[in-house]
Symmetry: C2
Subunit: 590 residues, 2 copies
């Protein structure tokens, strides 16, 4: 039974707001608004910081946190997901735009918007075509390795802002090399601000909340204050920079940020640009979708709710198109902010819309205050946020569990660090698929015998079982398809090319979930070749769906032996062979 597909999606299914919106209560409004305030406070510095990480003007981070949130509130199915700029997607945006070799800021912003637009169209198309399963080909080791490597890359890329030097590069070697060659130009004041704020934010994250609670503060309030740590750091460094005119002493500041609501922007329709951005947009879409869906599912399960992955594609697609049309860049559902939103009590997607209003007010009113904000403060915010993504223990976990998974993780981390995000994640996917195919191309095959006094058959190498010299029973622990069909043929022919008087080969098919046409061809060949050797080929315990299909071929007519419903029936029918010793008494009696 396949997953039951929904019949043609109705309008209501495309607009989840029509479901939850009708039952929206006053209590839910209150919860959503409280959550929105907390998320807004957290999102303002993050939005600015991620825009800088993406190599874009700070205000684009704010713009990407307004309309996309409304769009997701309309079309998304998760009740707690908070959409906006996130670290990994910002890094991938930086890499995609960096490859274009643009220098004009207007062109760069246009390219970023176009990237969001292509990504949005791609996500929408995947959603309408219900292609959400494509994301499944990103295996867990590849995602874990990619996120860890991205965290390292992002943190390293921000060190230049902490040191106050020039350095750029889209992989670890370039970035570290550029840092080391310019380290002599370190600006001491910038360094002091950067290190202080980094240390402060780490402390806020680990130590502030327990401290406040121990001082008698209510846990909820302590939590909100801890979340406001980055805002406090922003406010404090703005004040210090302004008071001492630190910008005149080499401290880089954000500078003029346009005041007002996001502008209406249109994506470029330049075919060459689309060609250059298509692959990055697809990778950004899929990575973003995977991040968003895994957060959404985790949070939904906690309240016994469900999200609909194909509808999530539509929600994220609409968000990205919204971002493209209002001066933003690619967005997705972020892990940290969604958890904050959920913990703060958000009950419906309306919380996202309220957050959007908050960010909109910030864009409208607060941008002049950001003039003196040191870049080093934003860099510290990013470093503290992304270091929580870095988890090298995945390497040892994978090593302990399976060498194949380890190879996929290690290759993804290594290639992401050395060759950049796009090569890293693409190679990771190809390596996992290749290793999976390699593994299924050499399936586990066990020669089995009868466990005395039972009707069960077990591996002759692991158990003390009865066998017959003229009868070989092979249990194939894998579906038979093109990649392993010839392996099985080789295996069987190798096994029977010996001095034993083999007369029967039984393939025990209980774990064979599929026999494709290549495997069918191989079974026909095997049947013919064994016949040429005077050996009969039998099948046992063939599954219903596999049998249905085999009946549509010539195999069953041509088969030299029989098809047995159970392996025990095969054993009973095929022993004793004429001239051989009969089977033992207990086997017959069973």
């Amino acid at each position: 039974m396949k997953l039951p597909r929904m019949s043609a999606r109705t309008f209501t299914q495309y607009m989840p707001i029509l479901t939850w919106g009708r039952a929206y209560t006053r209590e839910q409004v209150t919860s959503d608004m409280v959550a929105a305030v907390i998320v807004t406070i957290m999102l303002i510095p993050q939005s600015l910081a991620y825009a800088l990480l993406a190599g874009l003007p700070a205000e684009m981070g704010l713009y990407a946190s307004i309309l996309p949130l409304f769009a997701y509130a309309l079309f998304g199915t998760s009740r707690a997901l908070a959409v906006g700029p996130v670290a990994v997607v910002s890094l991938m945006t930086a890499a995609a735009i960096g490859n274009l070799g643009l220098t004009d800021p207007v062109q760069i912003a246009l390219a970023a918007g176009t990237l969001a637009f292509i990504s949005g169209v791609f996500l929408l198309a995947m959603g309408v075509l219900r292609l959400g399963f494509v994301a499944n080909f990103l295996s867990h080791p590849v995602i874990a390795g990619f996120i860890t490597a991205s965290g390292i890359l992002i943190a390293t890329s921000q060190l230049k802002h902490i040191l106050g030097v020039q350095a750029s590069g889209h992989n670890l070697i370039d970035t570290v090399g550029a840092l080391l060659s310019n380290i002599g130009q370190t600006n001491v004041i910038t360094l002091v601000i950067g290190v202080t704020i980094t240390a402060f934010l780490f402390w806020v994250r680990k130590g502030l909340k327990p401290l406040l609670i121990s001082k008698g503060l209510a846990p909820r309030l302590a939590d909100i204050m801890a979340k406001a740590g980055p805002v406090a750091a922003v406010a404090a460094t703005i004040l210090v920079t302004w008071a001492f005119s630190l910008n005149e002493h080499g401290v880089k500041i954000v500078g003029e940020v346009p005041m007002g609501l996001p502008p209406i922007t249109l994506p470029s329709l330049n075919g060459t640009l689309w060609g250059q951005l298509l692959l990055p947009a697809i990778l950004i879409s899929i990575i973003g979708f995977v991040e968003s869906v895994s957060v959404g599912q985790t949070l939904a399960a906690k309240r016994r709710q469900r999200i609909v992955p194909d509808q999530e594609l539509i929600g994220l697609g609409a968000s990205n198109i919204g971002s493209a049309l209002t001066g933003g860049y690619p967005v997705t559902g972020g892990f940290a902010r969604s958890v904050v939103n959920f913990d703060a009590g958000a009950e419906t997607p309306a919380a996202g819309a309220f957050t959007a209003v908050g960010i909109g007010l910030a864009a409208l009113l607060l941008t002049p205050l950001l003039y003196f904000l040191p870049i080093a403060t934003l860099a510290a915010t990013i470093i503290v946020a992304v270091l929580s993504l870095v988890d090298l223990s995945i390497l040892s976990k994978a090593w302990g569990y399976s060498r194949m998974d380890f190879a996929a993780v290690a290759a993804t981390i290594f290639l992401t660090l050395v060759m950049g995000v796009e090569v890293g994640v693409s190679a990771g996917v190809l390596i996992s698929i290749g290793l999976h195919l390699y593994q299924t191309s050499r399936p586990h095959v066990a020669e089995v015998g009868l466990v005395p006094d039972t009707q069960h058959f077990r591996n002759i190498l692991r158990h003390n079982v009865e066998t017959r010299p003229h009868l070989v029973t092979l249990r194939v622990d894998e579906s038979l398809y093109f990649a392993n069909a010839r392996f099985l043929e080789d295996y069987v022919l190798n096994r029977v090319t010996c001095d034993e008087p083999i007369k029967h080969v039984v393939l025990h098919c209980a774990a064979v979930n599929e026999v494709d046409m290549s495997a069918l061809h191989t079974l026909e060949e095997l049947n013919r070749r064994l016949s040429d050797m005077g050996i009969l080929l039998h099948l046992s315990e063939v599954k219903g769906p596999v049998m249905d299909r085999l009946k549509r071929s010539h195999l069953l007519q041509d088969l030299s032996g029989q098809v047995f419903l159970s392996q025990y029936q095969a054993w009973q029918a095929l022993s004793p062979a004429p001239g051989d010793d009969g089977p033992s008494a207990e086997a017959n009696a069973a």
Copy 2:
């Protein structure tokens, strides 16, 4: 149990001649020499024709049929395989060389030799690294579709020689278009020769042998005479063309063919050329290997012998390097000639060496006689040979068996015809892998219940079984890996998000041959999410190797439920649940 690997291969294993050579008897020498004479007669016109098909001078076909045969006799494991130029590889060579846009015949010959050299090195490397399994990724539908489409392409490409017009193209549309636009320049004498010889060869193939036998000839002699049909056609058309000077009336002839043994040639070491030829060489190697191994296995099985695929790679690699060093082009084991060799009684690879001597004598003595040979005769030889490869019934067979396999065949045939051989076969491989992954990414999952009065569990949709409202048992008919892990999670969460008072979910894992790290992660998540919903997750009938691996993870400690050895134990332990009806009497009594 994996296929037992040979321990480090000994010198004898790399040189199979050391095994059969020691026991070589006088009877075997006689059998081999008779087979060699028959194969030589068949191979002379074929070698010339395939060289022309590859767009190369006719003598290169002879050169490719001398040293490669000695090399295979030294290193190959098949006793009957006949190596040399074959139709599909010649077509692929034409496509590869055609892409280079060369016009100088010397450069073209150099490129063909280099192609054989790269192919030989690649095959040798695959053999030493035991990578023969890579060929398994060419599924049967893809190979069948590719061979059929190649047959059509080759036959069409030869029509210009039958008509005596100019026309070229590497796909069906170009070729047919060029033919139609030049059909007005048809040379009538050429057309008469071409059609007559084609008809004659078809008759020889179908009607001559039965006729000779009905006239009282011994079947063996009738067979040899039928095989000599192409040689007779060659001799007759040479005589007619010479007698009436048809070459002065527009009949294209082979012309001067250098007399003597093959020259010593060296491959180009130009990096750009290697870059351009690498991918074609890999495709040629793999296609050639697959063709050769499938012929070799078929023939070996008839005598209860075995071939060793990894050693075959070495044999074919040596043959191609031999071809490259002596003025030839890529070669492989051919189907038709190997069957002839086998039927003619070849008992050891020495038959191939004797054939090489025969072709060598032809190159040394007979080439002046080939001056007046019409190209149309060679084209007729090719057309008759390749039309036996065309088998469009594979389309209807695949349609009847499985839509996926049909899609792979149809796409391979269509793309090979329209886009050429390289795109066709590459797309076929990618499509089969993609469809396989798609299929395993949506595994068959059955909800099962207890068949009354037994310990067996069956699909609740197909059978009349007992179920319990608080207990859901799902049987997963596929290994769990990254591509289907999330599908399972969605499936289970969808199933339990309902109004029934579900307390237990049992995953029945008898058909789960593998749980990779992504699936492990999903099971951990599923366990956590079900716990959040107050539902316990249990496993039953987990296979030994899978259990070994799961023990190295945290899943078993964290699992909210239990692991049961059999599904029936799970059923007994989990029903009755407190407050529910107890299980029925017969279930308890069983």
